[in-house]
């Protein structure tokens, strides 16, 4: 039981952390609330399903193709549908919702609403105090942690990371310092969508695919971002594992828990916000006027 909870906390937490970091990156740099973020995660999963099941190629190849393809789709949709209406915040919001709906409906048309699954990369499991742990679960956790580390290095140690962080901090000053803000936003969108695609690729063997699979992660991701503090990578990371753990505890310990998992996690978020309105690690910004 305990081990089950730990494993599921780590998996859910890592997924939410990866999604939330991508989401808060593009929010920080371009002030876009990208509702379609988890829709990209969904299409990455379907992409892998298509390549492995219909084309019979190796899953690893499928994952790489999926990441490249989804990043391209993300960049194209940003360029054509979101960038032209950047000034109108409400319109951007609806545009991303519409985009998510379009992606969902296209997947429904192509793959129908059936529940699908993808074979795991490595088969087998090990017994550990009487609990079966599939190697795939361990692999997912490991890869997710590696990606998280890579994102941290990208943001802290590279010039692109510096550009992203400074643009998120103050767009106008970043522009005055000679950064091409539009280009930085484009790059950030690429990184953000690629992260969503990576997440999809990492969890696809563990989840069941259906075109509505983006809804639950979307809500949890937003809760994580708000809980951790908008724009704070550390906050997203900690918030993701807190909510992941809350979910696993509710599912394993409370009867009817699978219905209540979202409710409990979101209630925790609201309680934290009542005490700290700017989130766990968020900075209370001076009001933007």
């Amino acid at each position: 039981m305990l081990l089950d909870i730990i494993i599921s906390t780590l998996i859910n937490g890592s997924v939410y952390a990866l999604l939330a970091i991508g989401f808060s990156l593009i929010f920080g740099v371009a002030r876009i609330v990208n509702i379609a973020h988890t829709a990209f995660y969904m299409i990455a999963a379907y992409c892998i399903y298509f390549i492995t099941n219909s084309l019979n190629l190796h899953p690893l190849l499928g994952m790489l193709t999926a990441i490249v393809l989804v990043t391209l789709i993300g960049l194209i949709s940003y360029k054509f549908f979101i960038d032209p209406i950047r000034e109108h915040e409400a319109a951007v919001l609806i545009a991303t919702i519409a985009l998510a709906m379009i992606l969902q409906e296209v997947m429904l048309l192509i793959f129908t609403g059936d529940f699908l699954s993808v074979p795991s990369l490595i088969k087998g499991y090990m017994e550990f105090f009487g609990v079966r742990i599939a190697f795939q679960q361990l692999l997912t956790i490991g890869v997710a942690l590696v990606i998280l580390a890579a994102v941290w290095v990208l943001l802290r140690k590279t010039r692109l990371g510096l550009a992203i962080r400074s643009t998120a901090n103050d767009r106008e000053v970043a522009n005055l310092m000679g950064m091409n803000v539009a280009q930085v936003a484009m790059m950030t969108m690429g990184v953000s969508v690629a992260l969503a695609a990576f997440t999809g690729a990492v969890v696809v063997p563990l989840t069941i695919l259906n075109p509505h699979m983006w809804m639950h992660p979307l809500i949890m991701m937003m809760a994580v971002v708000v809980l951790g503090g908008l724009g704070s990578i550390k906050g997203s990371f900690v918030g993701a594992y807190i909510l992941g753990m809350a979910e696993s505890l509710v599912v394993f310990l409370i009867p009817m828990g699978s219905f209540l998992k979202g409710s409990v996690a979101l209630s925790i978020m609201i309680l934290v916000l009542l005490i700290r309105p700017e989130g766990l690690f968020g900075v209370a910004f001076e009001e933007e006027r």
């Binding site: 319109a91 519409a98 809804m215 809760a223 708000v226 979101l266 916000l273 309105p277």
Partner: protein
Amino acid sequence: MGLIGFYLRKLFTVFKGEVLVLPSRVVVLLFFLTLLLLPVFTRDPYLLRILILTSIFAILAASWDLLSGFTGQMNFGHALFFGVSAYTTALLNLHLHLPSWGSIPLGALAAVLAGLIVGIPSLRLKHTYLALTTLAFPIILLGVVYAIPNITGGELGLSGLSRLSGSRVTDYYITTILMLGLCTIMWKITDSNTGIIFHAIREDEVAVRAAGINTTRYKLLAFCLSGFFAGVSGGLYAHFMRIAGPSTLEVSMSFQVVIWAVFGGIVTIYGPVGAVFILVPLLEFFRFWPEGRMLMFAAIILLILLYMPQGLLPWLRDKVEKECPRCKIRNIATRSTCRICAASLD
């Protein structure tokens, strides 16, 4: 007799001078007349059903605009008010056997309470934080609804409510007249002093507070008012569909409201109403290709927003009318001088 004639002539002059001069006012007049006179010409139950649902959703979309458009408190969980009211109405009707004229107002009051419960924690939050937090409330409630199926009916919802009234045409008149009435009230609210304060809160809350206005009270008032109107539409929906199900609380419902309102143009009241009257029948029209229905719907919204990011109706209004640069009175676009102050319009 002469007096009546005088008043009639005066009425006609006012009508000609105030209503017929602006295309938008003529359109509103025609809209009212068409809706009220439609059952005289056709009693097709399918058409009436669509229009009843459209009216119900129009109240909902306008109530979102009253809260989120005017005060800028982005509410992503508007389905909460709709769902709370639908479930309360259903419970009152099924267990206490209250008729619809009693259960709908009580359902709306429950939604006002929900507005207070959401509003109080949300007062400390701003912008995106607020939007993402409000999104959480209906989902929390949805989890509770699923977890206690013997009270709420679980996934199936509560069904078997009494009808709104005896016949489809009476249903139609009840919803349409309520819709026209409530939307006019909302429009009047936004036009009053309170509405101006709402505007000001959206533009610059600090300045409003500096002017000595208790913004907290006004924001809560906006939450309650919006909750009330959304609650009325939720109750009407429950009684008309004769079911209150989890679909009233889903995320897609909340998103739907935002889509309607932003598509029609926020901060207008008439925008969301118009958008609902365009989009809901359009979605019905797309029935010819059921699988691609939502796809076409989303694509149209995306494409229209690309060209009219401030919303469809304000864009259209700006095409047919222009504002006088001197006295800020709107004029029809064909005029070369202002109808009030005769300043030249360029």
